[in-house]
């Protein structure tokens, strides 16, 4: 492989990886607080992409406004899901909430098939994002640079929020001990709703960017990015925001580079992530940044 090709693939990998990372943050935040794998997270991503689609076509909004509306709507959906399907199960065994999450995920997917039809839809792409430019002999899309940049900014904002604001402090407290935090007068349910809102907004943002990069959307588009992002979150150490981003980047790099260097493996592409997951769980279940907790009686 030539150096140019390598650089090209490198940028592809960074783009894909930062998308995985953004989605993974939603998983890692919810898991850090509730110990729940939010299966519906990938579907929020899909909804975000669809909201933009309908915003620009049915409601004739300008693209930028449609993006903002879509992110807000997706965020509200995330909060609604928590209110209806997860909050009543806070005291229940953890697996019950997980089954509830699986049911919600299937509900959103099948409802989307009914409402939006299962046909893939083409997505509008603003021209300034998709006209390629040339640096030396490397052709790049503005999108390829913009996606990692936006992701970086969002992660920095989030880190600032979690470590330097009151709600962020409450989030960290809940993730340590939900009952004590409640006793200290924190409105736990509101903070959890906030967490779902932020996670869903990030998922919607990455869904919109995903749709720009792979410009076709369908009701099942969220499943695989969702699984892989979860794996990225586990790889980085679940509960850690930096870890989620790093895990996403590693996973994106592995997927793109493995296929680039060994094209004969391209059929197995979707299995890579799961193999990575099994290796991580086997050798270091707490991931790169995870904290080790011993089960107590």
């Amino acid at each position: 492989m030539s150096l140019d090709m390598f650089i090209q693939q490198f940028f592809n990998a960074i783009t894909l990886g930062s998308l995985y990372g953004l989605i993974a943050i939603g998983y890692t935040m919810v898991y850090g607080i509730l110990r729940l794998i939010n299966f519906a997270h990938g579907d929020i991503l899909m909804l975000g992409a669809y909201f933009v689609f309908f915003g620009t076509t049915t409601f004739c909004l300008p693209w930028g406004l449609a993006v903002v509306v879509a992110i807000l709507a997706a965020s509200a959906t995330g909060i609604l899901i928590d209110r209806i399907a997860y909050r009543p199960l806070r005291e229940a065994p953890r697996i019950s909430a997980l089954i509830s999450a699986i049911a919600v995920s299937f509900f959103i997917e099948s409802l989307s098939v009914v409402l939006f039809t299962g046909l893939p839809r083409p997505v509008y792409q603003p021209e300034w994002l998709t006209t390629a430019f040339q640096i030396g002999s490397i052709r790049l899309l503005p999108l390829t640079l913009l996606v990692p940049a936006i992701s970086f900014v969002l992660v920095m904002l989030l880190l600032w929020m979690v470590y330097h604001t009151k709600p962020g402090l409450a989030m960290r407290a809940i993730s340590k001990d939900i009952e004590t935090t409640r006793l200290l007068g924190v409105r736990v349910d509101r903070i959890i709703a906030l967490t779902f809102g932020i996670g869903s907004a990030l998922a919607a943002a990455s869904g919109i960017m995903w749709a720009l990069r792979y410009p076709q959307i369908n009701p099942y588009m969220g499943i695989f990015p969702g699984f892989k992002a979860f794996i990225a979150a586990v790889l980085g150490g679940i509960g850690s925001i930096q870890g989620a981003m790093l895990g996403g980047l590693i996973l994106g790099m592995l997927e793109i580079m493995a296929v680039a260097f060994l094209p004969s493996l391209s059929g197995f592409r979707d299995a890579f992530a799961f193999i990575v997951l099994l290796l991580v769980l086997f050798y270091k279940p707490t991931g790169i940044f995870g904290e080790h907790t011993e089960e107590k009686i």
């Binding site: 009543p88 697996i95 089954i99 049911a103 509900f107 098939v113 009686i297």
Partner: protein, 347 residues
């Protein structure tokens, strides 16, 4: 009369009545109804196998579709004649051992189960160290890896084209015979000491370990037995549908089985049986929603995909409002039935 003998006699009687009913159904009902009856049996086998893993041993496994895929493929490859295979594999030649195998049906089903159990063993060794939801995700990942392997192992599995024209051997009697075998094995297993250990691990793993139970070993055992019966269920299902392809064995299939188990009650055998019957019939009757129909003079257009909407809602409502499902951990037994009748008499 001694209640043990009485119960045994009643069991024999029940099986005889079931046999007569099936014999009558085979000759008098139309093909669609027979197909539904068949599906009930297959779903019951699948639900029982998942219930053993999750409901009785407490391991949240989402890998059922993978075991079913292995069972279905192994059985189909065994039961197809070499000529058929040569005709069907158009992308790549069939490789040697697969190209000449031709076995009777019962053996192919058994082989499907055994291979699924072997895969279960391979999977169990790394993933059963994990607990709770991590185990769920890891087994889900394994099911997905199995599917990707099937798509890519074209010389063995015919890749994404799938296998068509599997000779249909599974009549009503055959399917229900397999169900009875499954039931017998699981009931004997769960009433034995091993079954008690499974339940102890489910209720409190740490306590079980402290009592000196080899927790990991028993978990592997339960997982492999579950995988074995899932493979058998998959083999029977492949035979019933006569076509299989890798797209069939996605997470949706696991979801269906999980729904039956949760609806019936985790840790209840009779619950799983009942809910297999109810949910299979419901799933089929809901096909009506997807066809156009008229309601009070209005023509309602059919809504494709509505079935899954209703079903995910049903599962959501069960988990939110009646988490123990239909039966909880209770069973319907002859003794309970007689106590119930007695109480009625005296009341």
């Amino acid at each position: 009369m001694n209640s043990v003998i009485r119960n045994r006699l009643l069991n024999v009687l029940l099986i005889a009545v079931l046999g007569l009913f099936l014999y009558w159904a085979e000759h008098n009902l139309d093909g669609y109804k027979i197909q539904i009856l068949n599906l009930i049996a297959v779903n019951a086998i699948l639900a029982l196998s998942l219930n053993l893993i999750y409901g009785f041993t407490g391991m949240f496994s989402l890998g059922h579709a993978g075991f079913m895929a292995i069972g279905a493929y192994v059985s189909a490859l065994c039961v197809l004649s070499p000529d058929q295979k040569e005709m069907m594999w158009i992308l790549e030649e069939v490789v040697w051992p697969v190209s000449v195998i031709h076995t009777p049906f019962w053996f192919s089903v058994l082989a499907g189960g055994i291979l699924a159990a072997l895969f279960g063993l391979i999977i169990a060794l790394p993933v059963l160290r994990l607990g709770g939801d991590y185990l769920g995700i890891a087994t889900l990942g394994f099911a997905e890896i199995i599917r990707v392997l099937i798509v890519n192992a074209t010389p063995i599995t015919n890749g994404s084209l799938g296998i068509k024209g599997i000779p249909m051997h599974s009549t009503l009697l055959v399917n229900y015979a397999w169900l009875l075998v499954t039931l017998y094995c699981l009931i004997r297993l769960l009433n034995s000491n091993v079954g008690n250990v499974f339940k102890a691990i489910r209720d409190d793993e740490i306590a079980a370990r402290v009592m000196g139970v080899n927790v990991f070993g028993y978990k592997v055992l339960s997982f492999c037995i579950g995988a074995f019966f899932a493979g058998i269920g998959g083999a029977l299902m492949g035979n019933l549908l006569t076509t299989i392809d890798p797209k069939m064995f996605t997470f949706l299939l696991t979801f269906n089985v999980l729904m039956i188990v949760v609806a019936g009650g985790l840790g209840s055998i009779t619950g799983s049986l009942l809910s297999s019957a109810i949910i299979t019939v419901l799933l089929e009757s809901l096909r009506a929603v997807e066809d156009p129909f008229s309601l009070a003079g209005f023509d309602v257009p059919g809504i494709p995909g509505m079935r899954m909407v209703v079903f995910s809602l049903v599962l959501l409502c069960i988990i939110l409002y009646r988490r123990e499902g239909l039966m909880g951990m209770r069973e319907i037994t002859w003794n309970a039935l007689f106590r119930f009748i007695d109480r009625r008499k005296h009341a």
